[in-house]
Symmetry: C2
Subunit: 231 residues, 2 copies
């Protein structure tokens, strides 16, 4: 919801559970939310539809898609035809950089969010990275986000003129169950989100990729049923 009194924030919306929670957190903290979704040549459009549903559910001020075809550069399971790894439980997820890692993805996404923030005059960026990711993804670690914030101050006209952009990662130290608990308190309807790396053509989650397993375990720990549709 827009309010002329409230500060503006650009929130990266992927359509997943984390970014939906972040957007709700930003709203509850009093920000007018501008949702940004990057279409980067994903294998399926289902997560883009999920991002639209999240934006609509939260009545964000504006929701934009930016197109960038990272497939041109090659590499990664999320942008090409590599198989998504499947496991039978969250405990089996290896503590190494996963094949689903997209080179420099968060740097690219945050750069685009920074560009839009500068155009809007927004001084805040929100991103849904969290502790569970940063064992595997280098660009989800707190030190990466600090470095990006330093860069953002130097990179922009608004930063030079004394209105630097602040990067918020409110989930950074939360477990999946803590994220879910916080979102449920804020009334997030997780049925509209899609976390699965490998959903079927109808948008049903596979239940066995890293993202599904972490999400399912999170709901289990909270003692709630995951409202997502699974195969």
């Amino acid at each position: 919801m827009s309010n002329s009194e409230s500060p503006s924030a650009v929130v990266l919306l992927s359509g997943g559970l984390d970014s939906a929670t972040v957007a709700a957190l930003a709203q509850s903290a009093g920000f007018s939310v501008y949702g940004l979704t990057v279409r980067y040549g994903q294998r399926h459009h289902l997560e883009l539809e999920a991002a639209s549903r999240v934006a609509k559910q939260l009545s964000v001020v504006e929701h934009k898609f930016v197109d960038i075809d990272l497939r041109t550069l090659g590499g990664s399971a999320l942008t090409s035809e590599l198989a998504v790894p499947k496991h039978s439980s969250a405990e089996q997820i290896a503590a190494e950089i996963p094949v689903t890692y997209v080179p420099a993805r968060n740097t690219i996404f945050l750069s685009l969010a920074l560009a839009w923030a500068e155009i809007l005059g927004a001084e805040h960026l929100f991103v849904g990275v969290n502790a569970l990711d940063y064992s595997g993804y280098p660009d989800c670690r707190p030190e990466f986000l600090s470095a990006f914030q330093s860069l953002a101050r130097l990179a922009t006209k608004c930063g030079v003129e004394g209105r630097p952009v602040t990067v918020h990662a409110p989930l950074i130290n939360l477990s999946k169950s803590e994220i879910i608990r916080r979102g449920l308190e804020l009334g997030v309807d997780y049925s509209v989100t899609l976390s699965c790396y490998d959903p079927d053509p109808d948008g049903l989650a596979c239940g066995h990729c890293d993202a599904c397993l972490l999400r399912l375990r999170g709901f289990q720990e909270v003692g709630q049923r995951d409202p997502a549709r699974y195969l």
Copy 2:
């Protein structure tokens, strides 16, 4: 030219004089050059054609285009319909952030170059920013480039694994005439480059935008005729 012995470098190629010189410098320093040109919704395709001519002239190992439509986000003379400012001499160029500033452009471009570098296993990025730009463009200053290099080390799998990417900006402290002198020594054919912000449909440079005036003065100081075609 490719050489299995030589280290690889991604060079951002705009089609202008600076990036052509940087690519030639990288080659002369022994790097195998991979040229990256970002199509970001420019008003004219002439600079993309110039980038292709530069890549061909230098026989780079590979030249890629990545598409990203920054017009979606709005703002700036280089991506929308704002008028490009014209002057009668280089001395009239104002020492302020120009309307041709594209929010966070270099952050976005370097992020894309970083992604490709990581995919290629290249440990070097070259970018043609220089002293004349950084009075006006915040993302051309040395401190911005240092911050990007810090970010790059944290943002990538290769950085985490001890093979961080080094960002080179060999023109950073050079004047336009010094850049041109260096390029001419290396045999760069500047007739294939296009610097003008507002060329006519046939690719003739306007001669009065900031980019044309700086370039013309540079050639004048070197005592050479600019081989670019002007209106």
